[in-house]
Symmetry: C2
Subunit: 221 residues, 2 copies
Amino acid sequence: MPYRQTENVARRLAARRDAIVVAAGDVAAEGGMAAVQIAPVATRAGIAAGTVYRYFPAKTDLIAALVATLSARELAALEDAAKAAPGPLSALAAAITSFAARALAGRRLAFALIAEPVEPEIDAARAPYRQALVDEFGKLIRNAQAGGRLPDQDVALAAAALVGALIEGLIGPLAPAIPDEPAKTRMQVQALALFALRGLGVVDARARGLVVQAVLPTTDK
Amino acid sequence: MPYRQTENVARRLAARRDAIVVAAGDVAAEGGMAAVQIAPVATRAGIAAGTVYRYFPAKTDLIAALVATLSARELAALEDAAKAAPGPLSALAAAITSFAARALAGRRLAFALIAEPVEPEIDAARAPYRQALVDEFGKLIRNAQAGGRLPDQDVALAAAALVGALIEGLIGPLAPAIPDEPAKTRMQVQALALFALRGLGVVDARARGLVVQAVLPTTDK
DNA sequence: CAGGCTTGTGAATCGCGCTTCATTTGTTCA
DNA sequence: TGAACAAATGAAGCGCGATTCACAAGCCTG
């Protein structure tokens, strides 16, 4: 019985797999999704191109792993923000502003993760994140509805429209690397959140209050 | 002076150019943007692949021409719908419902024109249409604002968010070829328009009224 | 209708990254 | 230590569709 994978090796392999995903993330953060090619990622991870294929059967799978990683992080942040809020409506507001603020903070990567034009195949790998986002917002909307804080409406549709409004409203600012003007950024986040909340049926005055509340704790991270 | 292009020839060339664009549109309507490849388009237009390059220096230019054509048509419809409305707010409502209803009527092509994942290069050719849409809605928003019918807000941002909400809200229904259920479609259009108008700051009750008004004349075409 | 141009043709070329694979290097264990 | 396997390597191959180009066919005018 001359060989069996040892604990040590297994760990090294897992670490290397992670390293590849991290390298892919770095490349994406710097040059966008288009820059995530096997050769550069491999170089960045300090391995040969062929080696990548020992860990991922195809490029698409690597992208999927990358998306899953980033996606989990973003969704967790979203949930945290919502959980910390006092009520279902402010949870919604918190989630919205958190999403927008985080996206603007990590522009390049957020853009790569959700909106940058990419080959259809790679876009397919991104779809689950988008869907998860919609689902998450859908859940928050349903909660608010259950509490009688929102009018009845098609939740799936509203969630999709909400996400669409956020993404499109962020894209302009996302794409170019705008010289950060924190004040302007905050205004933008507020305006978007306001649009979204009103769209869901929160009356203007109340929406404004929620947004102001939500932006305070959100923008510092 | 052995040759000069005659009137007749010029006309034939122009006609052929149009035919190529039309062929491209047909292919797109049937198989999506990905299906718009030189060879199939040429075949459809009844010419050889190489001939396409006598009319368009590169595939991107053909796509751009296609987008421009469709785009002009859609924008005209948008303006017509808005113009026929009695006031600035109902003009907005009419434009929104018109856009949504038309998109759902010509799903495949609308999807190809605005949302289908495509190579970045081709996406670039689509950008002007998106921008034109945003501009057009921006104009309508500004009009309504000027009439005191909408709260003050960043018009560009609001227009972008509006377009994003519409697109994303339509994508689900757009992508698959849903067996048409006119009633359901109308509901969807209404819900989206409602979201959009409320997002802009129209109070719920008024928005509902506008939407109902707008959907009637819009859905019959 | 001949010469000189334009237009059309479609098979061959090209570019570009993903992917493969024969070979080398590393690891395990009797 | 060496037999048996696993992992890493990176240059070569490949697929795919846009693009080219040498040549043929079509128009125009003197």
